[in-house]
């Protein structure tokens, strides 16, 4: 019996001095989105926090502070009645200036801290990021921006992106990061393509059409859609007619033929599409016209991708990961050398478009 007594005393002692890391879900202040801006007198951090007041309605609030450090949650913590908790962050926004000055320290922080999910969405704004947060406030949905981006990756032109993918691209050698580019139009936030980075700095941005091309180049572009101008029958009217097509499946094959001194890469793309909208004069029942259409689309995509690649080379950014392709082929690859020859590498593109269904058209 004595043994049981000592045992229970020990257990009681353990229980009484238990864990002090309580974060009771309604006694904390959840941060859903965070934004980083560079302003004249330092760095501005803004967070979007929520108050769940009524069923289905969420009151959002924005707190911001300016300080020298990049992540100033402790400082923001002094503004709330409940402790700020970062475990439910789903959106990270970089303002225009801060993206151009460099996002490296923030990214490093997000890599190291186990609190953050790998599925966090990152994005770049075309102005101060905190302004974008202000706009999402009125939606009363704490996950509005991240849901919007995710929805566009599933059923739109955006390639698969999240914190992990961006970190992979950022830390990986021979590839560069790209993030969604957000803009405000008529008082609403819209995704206006992608922002391309060299290391941690934003270099340029591309349109949604180019985003689709990038998506095709790096993964299966399923569900992305594109308006393709068609040289019509009445060829005197330049490209008034458009085909709206939706990608059903695509696959890119890369063949690195030579590595030294200047690599040459041939890219073979296969794209299976569904036509959603075609001009009236196209007869979809005619095999002949469809083959012609496939040919026209193939050559269109080839020229567009070539244009897109030369844009990348001009800006010295590599979101496709051509450097990585070459690295896989040679043992003496190194990032600095490759950067020097990047603009000179040869790329040949061939595209094969197949119309699988004429769908609703």
């Amino acid at each position: 019996m004595y043994r049981w007594k000592t045992f229970s005393v020990i257990i009681l002692f353990a229980v009484l001095s238990a864990c002090s890391d309580q974060r009771i879900v309604n006694q904390i202040c959840l941060v859903h989105a965070i934004s980083f801006d560079t302003v004249s007198n330092g760095k501005k951090t803004a967070v979007l926090i929520s108050h769940f007041k009524e069923q289905g309605k969420t009151e959002l609030q924005i707190l911001h502070t300016v300080s020298n450090s990049n992540i100033s949650l402790p400082r923001l913590n002094t503004m709330t009645n409940d402790p700020l908790e970062r475990g439910q962050i789903s959106m990270v926004l970089f303002g225009k200036t801060s993206a151009e000055k460099g996002t490296g320290t923030v990214l490093h922080h997000f890599l190291r801290d186990p609190k953050f999910s790998s599925r966090i969405q990152l994005a770049v704004a075309d102005r101060d990021a905190s302004e974008l947060l202000e706009i999402t406030k009125k939606t009363q949905e704490p996950f509005y921006l991240s849901d919007m981006i995710e929805q566009n990756m599933r059923s739109g032109n955006l390639p698969l992106m999240n914190l992990h993918v961006s970190l992979f691209n950022y830390y990986g050698e021979g590839r560069d990061m790209f993030l969604p580019y957000l803009r405000i139009e008529h008082g609403e936030v819209i995704i206006d393509g992608l922002a391309l980075f060299r290391r941690d700095r934003k270099i340029t941005e591309i349109s949604m059409k180019d985003a689709f091309l990038l998506k095709m180049l790096i993964q299966n572009s399923k569900n992305g859609s594109l308006m393709v101008p068609l040289a019509g029958k009445a060829s005197n009217k330049p490209s008034e007619d458009f085909i709206l097509l939706r990608s059903m499946h695509s696959k890119a094959n890369y063949i690195v033929s030579t590595v030294n001194p200047v690599p040459s890469i041939s890219i073979r793309l296969k794209l299976v599409t569904e036509l959603q909208n075609v001009p009236e004069w196209v007869d979809l029942r005619s095999e002949e016209q469809l083959t012609q259409l496939e040919k026209a689309l193939s050559s269109y995509f080839r020229t567009e991708i070539e244009k897109f690649l030369s844009l990348l080379k001009k800006n010295k950014v590599d979101p496709v990961g051509l450097g990585d392709l070459v690295r896989g082929r040679s043992r003496e690859w190194n990032a600095q050398d490759f950067e020097k020859i990047y603009q000179r590498i040869k790329t040949t593109v061939s595209v094969q478009v197949k119309i699988a269904s004429t769908g609703s058209a």
């Binding site: 002692f13 999910s117 790998s118 990986g172």
Partner: protein, 366 residues
Amino acid sequence: MKNAVDEKYLISPFLIVPLMYVSMVGVGVLNFQRELAEHAGYNAYISVILVGISLHFIIWMIYKILSSNQAGLDITVINNACFGKIAGNIINLAIVLYFFFGAYIEYKAYIEVIRVWLFPAMKILPISVVLVSFIYYTVSGGFRTVTGLCFLGFLMTLIFIIPENLSLLPYLHPLNLMPLLNHSITDILLSSKSMLYQFLGFEALLLFYPFIKSPEKSQKWAHSMVFFVTLLYLMVLIVTFMYFSEGQLREISWPTLNMLKIIETPVFQRVEYLAISLWLLKNLSGICLSLWAACRGMKSVVLQIKPRMSLLAFLVGFLILECFLKDRSSFRWMAEFYSDVGLYFIYGYIPLMFIATQLRKTWNKG
């Protein structure tokens, strides 16, 4: 000479599977990728294969050593027979300490994971008391209870390792593994050393061998388990390498857990919290097995201490170490020392014993 173990305490040969699994897959599976990549980069998978192959030889030797004795006795008795009472007991004590510190390092490493991932401000002593009393409850239940817990740990972790790797598929970049073989042999051997550290613990076989019913039947299971665990490490390693870019991996402390962060299920948004909690069972079963081996070893060292007493002493030792060993550097030093000792234990002591027992056998025949 002791009597062989009573029939009713024996386990069936198949149950060596969870025991081998639990002892070879330690808490290291959560972060071994980084250390491996330090030397051999993304060629480190070769080290895993090398260590796996060498362990097959070691397992074969262990079975030869242990079956050289007709009565089916454990290594402590063989030590006494080979080296005499005094020298044998010194070696036995060293083995006991080796298992004790193995258990402690395993324990400490897991506490570290909890502190970083779940509760940064957690007080260690209360949870240590509860865990230590759990270990006491399990180990005092005897070898069958330890085996049972190992079985649970085996099932629980196996259930999630495979789906985890499958759900990572869209994020894998096979190109990361290219180019093949761009590191030197020395680099790969250096990685192998840190890989061996992950496998350490299976030497408990030297002590629980007499508890296996018809042990010769268990050898095929032991070999297939070495093969399976090698494959498991290889799979985790290759998936990690394909998932992270090399620069990213260098910055991450627990790559396996970090990979879990991408998985989302309808009920749990963050699976790693579940996985860490689940890992507790696997981890405790490994600790229990090592401590059981230490207690069993103590039985034949000079003083003939009762296993229950030595278990209590070990657990109090746990708590005392917990109170005094607070800084990370001394723990790291201890872990490194342990892995060095493990290296000599596996590749020095066991082959030596193998030769000694084989010589004795021919001597006795002739």
